[in-house]
């Protein structure tokens, strides 16, 4: 008599997410390295000087932009990395289908983005402490989280969703590349063609620039990421394992 274990998609995905979080925990070091790089580059990231009454006034604004850009690059890389063979095959040593594996990847990347987003946001404080002890210049009061909690939260949320979308870009590129090298280069050519026609710029303007509020931008970005992940899932459906 056979006793087949029934296992629901949800529980497989949850187990996979848990497993992947442990398995990819080593990425923390890359994250730290890039955030530290971000801090180093942040000092005077946007520095402006103006002269008035023969007085030059320089204002060094240390913002999280540089950290965010570094971490965005990491997000793209990680999104790409987990589509590579070694990572993909690991899933199939355990219970997995391509659907569960993709959903789990998508969730894991979101969790990573949350962690990366929040920590990147807070690196500004590391920077503050660092500069407080290392700079003889006077400090200008800067807004803290407490000054405008809603805006701070929104910034964090926006960072998270943007990182997630970046990881989805890496993910779809990786999936395409794994699936069919030709398809990957084909897509690349199409994208470059789109870029050259200017339609793309218009589209991205509509999506990313012409927003009445940050929240709408976040919502749109979220939708795009979901769309990209869904496409990747559809593409990866025919990917073989251990071939």
């Amino acid at each position: 008599m056979m006793f087949l274990s029934n296992i629901s998609l949800t529980s497989v995905v949850l187990s996979q997410v848990k497993f992947k979080l442990s398995a990819y925990s080593g990425l923390i070091y890359s994250l730290i390295i890039l955030q530290v790089l971000g801090i180093l580059f942040a000092t005077g990231w946007s520095s402006s000087g103006t002269s008035i009454n023969n007085i030059s006034i320089n204002l060094n604004i240390s913002s999280i932009d540089s950290g965010f850009i570094f971490v965005s690059l990491l997000a793209i890389s990680v999104g790409n990395l987990i589509t590579t063979r070694a990572y993909r095959y690991d899933d199939f040593s355990f219970v997995a289908t391509r659907l569960s594996s993709n959903i789990a990847n998508c969730i894991v990347l979101l969790i990573f983005s949350c962690y990366a987003g929040v920590t990147t946001y807070f690196t500004v404080y590391l920077m503050r402490i660092f500069l407080t002890f290392n700079s003889t210049n006077e400090f200008v009061e800067g807004p803290t989280i407490l000054d405008d909690p809603m805006n701070s939260l929104l910034t964090i949320l926006a960072m998270i969703i943007f990182l997630w979308m970046f990881s989805s870009l890496g993910y779809i590129a990786g999936t395409l590349f794994q699936n069919h090298k030709l398809l990957f280069f084909g897509a690349l050519v199409i994208i470059i063609m789109l870029l050259l026609t200017g339609t793309w710029i218009r589209i991205s303007e509509i999506i990313f620039v012409e927003n009445s509020s940050l929240l709408i931008l976040v919502a749109k970005t979220f939708g795009i990421a979901i769309l990209i992940f869904a496409t990747s899932t559809a593409i990866s459906n025919r990917l073989g394992v251990r071939v």
Binding site: S25, I32, F122, Y125, L126, N137
Partner: protein
């Protein structure tokens, strides 16, 4: 290919290089640690950052330069405009006295008054002349300076004044000695998300106004065009 595209592609190159470098780093970080260690590092790093945030909020800080809000800057701008308008209309009694920096009188020895300026930026000084009915040689002068503000920094006190000095019949306006101030600021906001261009310098340009009450028979020589009508 248009300029925008050139810029776009040149901008794309560092992004691609960046991705490659980061990919390289991610793959090269050979030390993956053990799961236990990684978990500890993840927790510690997170609490460290949050902790630093809290510590930063509670530690006593160096004197901090206040920053004015957009509305406050607007208000300064308006005050400046009102001042200039009234000055030009010769409504001296309605002038805001907080701009008054100096007051003096001077006995002119001849019938000419020369306006001189030492410095690079003579546009920062405006001379307004009010002709008075008098036969005396006495000139009354008042030096005003309107609000100056850069980036909303409340540092007006730090910006030195122009000094007007008499050498014989010449009124020489000295620009302050060149000085440089650097300030550090932190931003919790991401500039990339700013829907409006914030890189535009927030500035309230202030001027040094020299209000002279000059008897009508005196001729003013103004080679630099400091006088405002």
């Amino acid at each position: 290919m248009s300029n925008t595209w050139m810029i776009f592609f040149i901008g794309l190159i560092p992004v691609v290089i960046g991705i490659l470098i980061v990919l390289y780093i991610t793959k090269k970080v050979k030390y993956k640690g053990s799961l236990r260690l990684n978990k500890i590092v993840i927790m510690i790093y997170f609490s460290l950052l949050i902790g630093v945030g809290i510590v930063y909020e509670i530690i006593p800080k160096e004197p901090i330069v206040e920053q004015l809000s957009e509305e406050q800057l607007q208000q300064l701008q308006t005050e400046n405009e009102v001042f200039e308008e009234k000055l030009l209309k010769q409504e001296e009694n309605k002038l805001s006295q907080k701009f008054l920096k100096e007051e003096w009188t001077h006995e002119l020895s001849g019938n000419t008054l020369t306006l001189g300026y030492i410095g690079n930026d003579s546009y920062s000084t405006k001379v307004v002349v009010e002709w008075i009915d008098s036969t005396a040689q006495k000139i009354e002068g008042k030096v005003y300076r309107s609000h100056i503000n850069l980036y909303g920094l409340k540092i007006e006190d730090k910006i030195p004044l122009h000094v007007a000095e008499w050498t014989g019949n010449e009124l020489v306006i000295h620009e302050p000695v060149e000085q440089e101030f650097t300030f550090e600021q932190f931003s919790n906001e991401l500039n990339v998300f700013q829907q409006t261009d914030t890189m535009e310098i927030r500035m309230v340009r202030g001027f040094t106004y020299i209000h002279l009450k000059v008897p009508k028979h005196i001729e003013i020589v103004d080679p630099l065009g400091l006088q405002m009508y």
